[in-house]
Amino acid sequence: MAEKFLELIGLSTRFGKVTALDDVSLDVARGEVVCIIGPSGCGKSTLLRAANWLTPPDAGTVRLNGSVVGSAPERRVTGAHIRALNSNRAQIGMVFQQFNVWPHMTALENVTRAQVVVLRRDRAEAEAKARQTLADVGLSDKLDAWPDMLSGGQKQRLGIARALAMDPALMLLDEPTSALDPELVAEVLNVLKRLAAAQMTMLIVTHELGFAAQVADRIIFMEAGKIVEEGPPSQLLHSPRTERLKAFLDKLSLTALPREHAHDPV
């Protein structure tokens, strides 16, 4: 039996009248890769951002390797709480849809800075690690580049390197390729595939079903703030059990039809 590494317990969140998360629970085992799919507005990003307490839920608990990351509703936030949270966050790497690389530093500095400031590594050690991780994502020739000189795919790989340099135990990825031009998607997915193969525990929100089919140990389908169906890729994608998942997959297949079948207006 796989131990529960990341536990999301009973998470609920409302934004005004909209219920974004409705008592959602999810466990991720060490080394497991879980992909979350679903229509927009289904709550997948909210779930991910609750996992590292970036956007705390209204109710529920998150535990990483047994220790509490956050528990809502929170009564009082003390300095000790905050320090513990930041320490937990340092073990959780996050990759954003919009990359969020820091534009006022070079690529090397982007990857070095947090190691020095958060992990208190000494600068030489941090820089060495930075060079290593940048090499791992294929950006060795861009160490002194400024982010605005990088393509979208390079920026995202920089974001991944920045997260990896912290030696995280868990990676959260929020639609890592959704903001990329199609030809740049593959380079990022390749990096993520290598990461998965290296037994990194990952929770990925994505639209890329082909990618999910390849790397995921488990796929979760969410809709309207609830988990509707979950299971291994073969089962979920090829023999969906629920009507809603079937409908979702059908819609995606339709939009993925090759152009020859459409009537092009002249």
């Binding site: 590292n52 970036l54 905050i82 930041n86 320490s87 937990n88 966050r89 340092a90 959780i92 790497g93 996050m94 954003f96 919009q98 969020n100 690389v101 820091w102 534009p103 006022h104 800075r113 947090a114 400031v117 958060v118 992990l119 580049a145 400024w146 605005d148 000189m149 990088l150 393509s151 974001g159 920045r162 997260a163 912290m166």
Partner: protein, 223 residues
């Protein structure tokens, strides 16, 4: 009307002394007002409603009243509570408080202009709010903050003239006395006007140079 600028020979030194005091007062007021303004800006954005409200009250009170009434109030209120400070120090405090309210709004505008995702990535990687501000948000807000900040500093130079109304011997007060003794108001006031204008230009040029140094980077290559 005959102009007699020879008064500058006799009274020049006194006017320059006043000029020097003006410079000292403004520098001190900025040195105090800028950090206070930064704290106010952070307080305004704080999650704690009491702190945010208190900062808002301070800022609105100082931005919606003439500087001269603030100066007078501080000048008379301090002895009321037993604090007897020389006029120059009261002047610096008043100017610093006035400046901080305006600095706070400029700084807040700059911080708000930095995309939310920047703060997200800083927090997600484990930085404390203070670390996130210092390493990620504030440096990016500099480009937006510096021009209006410069304008506020220049405005402080001009507002300092109002300290003459509480007997501080800065440049304007000196000119009033000089014209009282020489009966040559035009020469006296034109001379200090020129000195104010000069100070204004020097600070403006210095700040523009600083802007260029801090917000541009080594030449960009191709993508």
């Amino acid at each position: 009307m005959s102009l007699d600028f020879s008064i500058f020979i006799d009274y020049g030194p006194r006017i320059l002394l006043g000029f020097w005091l003006t410079i000292k007062i403004v520098v001190l007021a900025i040195a105090l007002g800028l950090p206070l303004g930064a704290l106010l800006a952070l307080a305004r954005r704080s999650r704690f409603r009491l702190l945010s409200w208190a900062a808002l009250a301070f800022i609105e009170l100082f931005r919606n009243t003439p500087f001269i009434i603030q100066v007078f109030l501080l000048y008379y209120v301090l002895p009321f509570y037993g604090l007897r400070l020389p006029a120059e120090q009261v002047g610096v405090l008043a100017l610093a408080a006035f400046g901080s309210a305006y600095f706070a709004e400029v700084i807040r505008g700059g911080i708000d202009a930095v995309p939310a995702g920047q703060l997200d990535s800083a927090r997600a990687i484990g930085m404390s709010d203070l670390q996130a501000m210092r390493h990620i948000v504030l440096p990016q807000s500099l480009a937006i903050i510096l021009p209006p900040l410069t304008n506020q500093m220049l405005s402080l130079i001009k507002e300092s003239a109002i300290l003459s109304t509480i007997t501080v011997q800065e440049m304007t007060m000196t000119a009033i006395r000089v014209q009282g003794e020489t009966f040559r108001p035009f020469e006296a006031f034109i001379m200090i006007a020129a000195l104010y204008w000069l100070l204004n230009e020097v600070v403006a040029i210095a700040m523009r140079a600083l802007e260029r140094r801090w917000t541009t980077r080594p030449a960009k290559g191709g993508a």
